[in-house]
Amino acid sequence: MNEKPLPKIGIIACAVLEMELNHFSSGLEHVASLEIMKQDLHNQPELLRAELQAAIDRMEKLAEVEYIVLLFGLCSRAIEGLHGERCPLVAARAHDCITLLLGDKNRYASYAARFPGTYWYSPGWIATNTQPGKVRYESCYEEYLEKYGEDNADYLMELEQSWMHEYNRATYVDLGVGDREAGLAYTRECAQYLNWDVDCQEGEPSLLRDLLNCNWDEERFLIVRPGETFHITTDARVMEARKIKPETETCR
């Protein structure tokens, strides 16, 4: 198999993929360090970027780490600007974690083109976030009621619901990790409450496995070297490496 030992890697992952990461990285001796980022940073790309950079900086201080692997996609462009001083950074060419769960960016793209109104559910999403459904509706209403009064709370919920009416499908995906029956049952319950269709997509772990095992081909992964960063491309490559501009190196 591999003649050379694998390079030592540090992994920074979103909490949404924590269960899958623990499963597929268990026993991997070349994993030198691991950090998990909170899921709610998903809603604040700039903060996510800052937290990721701080984690990268911390990891680079560990002498044995040779590459830093990010279990993130573009995530609303949060990974743009990230850079290592010493270590190359590696990520899957993905818009977000759903590619890592489905195992293929093209599979994700064709599913999204076919069903644009899809809201994704996965073990990690269910564990870390209040996904659309009854519980989310009720807690959201309570908050608005307290802050803005009944008239405005009703209105805001109506808007929230109209947004949800644009979606029409709850799709559950997993990599065989976590309690599938419970995850599916939860997804069904939410879909029923929201009057959405339900679908279940079998995940494909090879992409995540190859990411963790340093099997990084150009087609599926991007490595950015020191002096470079990730940048979005609006084509099937998803992202490319770009030289960091001098002014962004020095700012803040």
């Binding site: 803005y148 805001l156 808007l159 109209s162 644009e166 998803v238």
Partner: protein, 208 residues
């Protein structure tokens, strides 16, 4: 003017019923329609500024915009009688494949608040539909929104479609993953980093 100050405050706080009552009073007192409108625009300008500074968030903007809308419904006939009408028209929508409309709705409401006529095409709008609506309505600007990195390319297609149609309509883009750099790359006329900036950019584009 205390009445108009109160009206501005009511809109800012999203107190729809208060805003409605106050605008009725202002109309009954025969205050100049343009001045009443200015007090409403002042409220939305303030909301825009505070939203941009992260002092308030989407729900606050939405309820303020709703109060503004309620007040405008009463004021509009008075404005028409006074010969005051929106000078510029905007066609707005979320691009093809993207169903997210909160940001787009915010921009639409802010533009209305700034006295633009707004034709809202909703979500998942094809390039052709943008062009058709701009042509039919004689719009000055087409505003496009996308929340997803996966749907941003539809903005480029729409800009290309406008150009090849021969229309002189300006194009503006915005949405969480969108940047000025992307606007430059695809040849859009403008980029709005947030709802408040979108209004400023729209104003400067039409007056350029």
């Amino acid at each position: 003017m205390e009445l108009l100050n109160n009206l501005t405050e009511a809109v800012k706080k999203g107190k729809r019923k208060d805003a409605e009552a106050l605008v009725k009073q202002a109309v009954e007192q025969k205050l100049e329609a343009g001045t009443i409108l200015d007090s409403l625009i002042a409220a939305m300008d303030d909301i825009g500024r505070r939203f941009k500074a992260n002092e308030i968030f989407v729900p606050e903007v939405l309820i303020a915009a709703r109060a503004m809308k309620t007040a405008m419904e009463i004021l509009e006939p008075v404005l028409v009688d006074a010969g005051i009408k929106p000078e510029y028209k905007v066609v707005i929508g979320t691009v093809r494949g993207d169903l997210h409309d909160i940001g787009k709705n915010l921009v639409a409401m802010m533009l209305k608040g700034a006295n633009f006529e707004v034709i809202d095409l909703g979500t998942d709008v094809t390039p052709e539909k943008f062009v058709e609506a701009a042509r039919d309505n004689g719009a000055n600007i087409i505003c496009m929104s996308a929340l997803l990195t996966t749907t941003m390319p539809a903005m480029k297609e729409t800009v290309d479609c406008v150009k090849s149609s021969g229309l002189k309509t300006l194009t503006m883009i915005g949405g969480a993953p969108v940047t000025q750099e992307y606007a430059d790359e695809i040849g859009a006329s403008g980029y709005g980093a947030d709802a408040a900036t979108a209004v400023e950019v729209a104003r400067s584009l039409v007056s350029a």
